[in-house]
């Protein structure tokens, strides 16, 4: 990879061979309109000022860089810092994107917002911005996820969103995305679809990355100030991959920084019961993009397994596929058990309860930190808080609340 000239996506919406716009003809004009509007306003000072203002006063940015001192001491190796996206309004990095996209929607004159959600974090972040701007909001969520993330379902309803249960296919995130696409194709004139990850057809992977890259941009400043240099390693969990792309992107050209994405290993990558397409998948086309997928020989998408609803997705953003093949980012996986262990570790030693998604990144940090020099610095993107997961963790561990 020519790191100096990294300039993706190209004009066709591709990251190397990945990405593109594989959607039905009816959606092409909406995607073209979105692309055109985004290209026009992404350098517009007034628009950027509006986004910045919302990030500061509505989201609460910048998010702090926190030293996990006790956890570091317990592990006895590299210093672990946490980029505290869990402290954002609505409790995760997802709001960085929805704050920007809702303003885009308004610029395009759209009156209605739809979104898919897995863990519910993106649904809540979308419902919150829709409420703030007085827009109608419909969230699509798989029936299985509604069950495992019920507090977030109620939060969305309180925020005035309509939550549509999706009972087709595997009843999880991918099916919610199918259903959102079906709604969009039907209501394309007045509706903007806020995709919540760096996935889907162009220009979504770019837009969602750009809005989330505030995380990496802040980290650069904070790292210079706190360490006087960039961290040695940055670790983030990867489902669709938006929090990872957000923190990685500003560092892609900084070769001294190792970038590590952690996929959901479920019961173990070798068991086949996981959601780790970059570790154990093959290239295909789904949800408008060419990317690594979990699929069978006939091209049918496989059902995935992860303890965390937000990572339970058979695909991954196309830019991650490119970064994997180019070798700039290394992709690992953490199992359900390792993630639960990371969840408890951080909660007990630092008083911070992470989302189960985030716990996958923590699990990998825990694995490598003890073997690294004490002078090395790891930053984990603490992408979300774990309150939403309490009932699910209790259930997995055989407790009733």
């Amino acid at each position: 990879m020519d790191k100096e000239n990294y300039d993706f996506p190209d004009k066709d919406g591709r990251f190397g061979d990945f990405g593109g716009k594989y959607v039905s003809e009816t959606l092409i004009s909406a995607l073209d309109q979105l692309e055109e509007t985004y290209n026009k306003i992404k350098k517009d000072k007034a628009f950027l000022k509006e986004v910045k203002n919302d990030l500061e006063t509505f989201v609460g940015r910048p998010s702090p860089l926190y030293f996990a001192q006790r956890w570091t001491e317990n592990l006895g190796g590299a210093k672990i810092y946490l980029k505290r996206e869990d402290l954002n309004h609505t409790g995760a990095h997802k709001i960085n994107n929805t704050v920007g996209q809702v303003l885009l929607a308004k610029k395009m004159g759209k009156k209605r917002i739809i979104a898919e959600t897995g863990a519910g974090q993106h649904g809540v972040a979308t419902a919150a911005v829709a409420a703030r701007h007085g827009l109608e909001c419909v969230i699509f969520m798989g029936e299985e996820d509604i069950e495992r993330q019920s507090p977030n379902v109620y939060r969305m309803k309180l925020l005035g969103a309509k939550v549509c249960a999706v009972d087709s296919g595997t009843k999880t995130l991918k099916d919610a995305m199918n259903e959102a696409m079906r709604d969009w194709v039907t209501n394309v004139d007045d509706t903007h679809y806020i995709i919540g990850s760096v996935a889907g057809p162009h220009p979504y992977p770019q837009i969602v990355r750009d809005f989330n890259s505030i995380v990496g941009i802040e980290l650069k400043d904070q790292a210079r100030e706190v360490f006087g240099r960039y961290p040695d390693k940055i670790i983030a969990c990867v489902g669709g991959g938006s929090n990872a792309m957000g923190i990685f992107y500003p560092f892609l050209k900084d070769n001294s920084v190792d970038l590590i994405g952690v996929e959901a290993g479920g019961s173990g990558v070798k068991s086949g019961k996981h959601a780790a397409p970059l570790s154990d998948g093959s290239v295909g086309v789904l949800h408008g993009m060419k990317t690594y997928l979990m699929q069978d020989d006939g091209g049918q998408i496989l059902s995935t397994h992860s303890v965390s609803a937000g990572l339970d997705y058979p695909g991954v953003g196309p830019e991650h596929s490119y970064l994997r093949d180019s070798g700039r980012v290394v992709y690992e996986s953490a199992t359900d058990d390792e993630a639960l262990d990371g969840f408890h570790d951080l909660t007990k030693t630092e008083g911070i309860m992470p989302a189960l998604e985030t716990a996958h990144a923590l699990a990998f940090a825990k694995k490598i930190a003890p073997n690294l020099d004490k002078e090395e610095i790891i930053v984990v993107n603490l992408s979300g808080r774990g309150d939403k997961d309490m009932a699910n963790v209790a259930k997995v561990e055989g407790l009733s609340l």
Partner: protein, 266 residues
Amino acid sequence: MNNIEKVFESLKKNNRKALITYSVAGDPDLDSSEKIIRNFISSGVDIIEVGVPFSDPMAEGPSIQLGHERALKNNISLPNILDMCSKIKNDFPKTPIVLMGYMNNFLSLKDNLFKELKKNKIDGLIIVDLPYVESEEFLKKLNEEGIDLIRLISPTTTNERIRKILTSSSGYLYYISLKGVTGSDLKVSDELEKRVSEIKNQTNLPVVVGFGIKDAETAKKMSVCSDGVVVGSKLVDEISKHSLYKDNLLKENLMSIIGELREGIS
């Protein structure tokens, strides 16, 4: 002249319009879907669209989604479907068979796809999630084997885009009647008819209309302004009511739907 061209030429000569059916391969099982298609052809259907079931059929409404799900329960794969089509073609060589599905299933055969399609006498492909901009390489390989890539045009396609699409189209053009998924409620409007005639004015290719055509009256209206109609959800719905094709009632009901539509449009 290929099969599709011949069909439309003969229809034109007789001042008739094309009746095109869509059913899902393997729904409710592979044998039954083969029998269903054979009966469609015997009842005077002009072109057969064979749905290739996909785990994530994003453009389909509930009826056809369920059809895909039923077919996938039988582990239907593209090679099975090609085999079925080849058998049908042996008996009905002149009736065009067009596979309609999603990119990921076609990609599963990799570079063998094009030869396999040719070998099994497939006349055309409709790939729902392969829009014009992504199709260049794929189109080239299909054309080398003499297979048509049937293009979709929707109510949101701009005139500029239509012109581009027309430069690399063959077979026929499929006009999506509405903004929505398959099987939605179609309201026939002057605007819809105007749009179809606008497209017809720009091309010599036949233009057929699909999505939401469920009864003889709508089929008739749509056939007046176009070169034919595609009926899918209505048939798949009927198939869903019967578990297996040995059910004679299904055969009777499907034939009566086809009969009414045929009467409506010709």
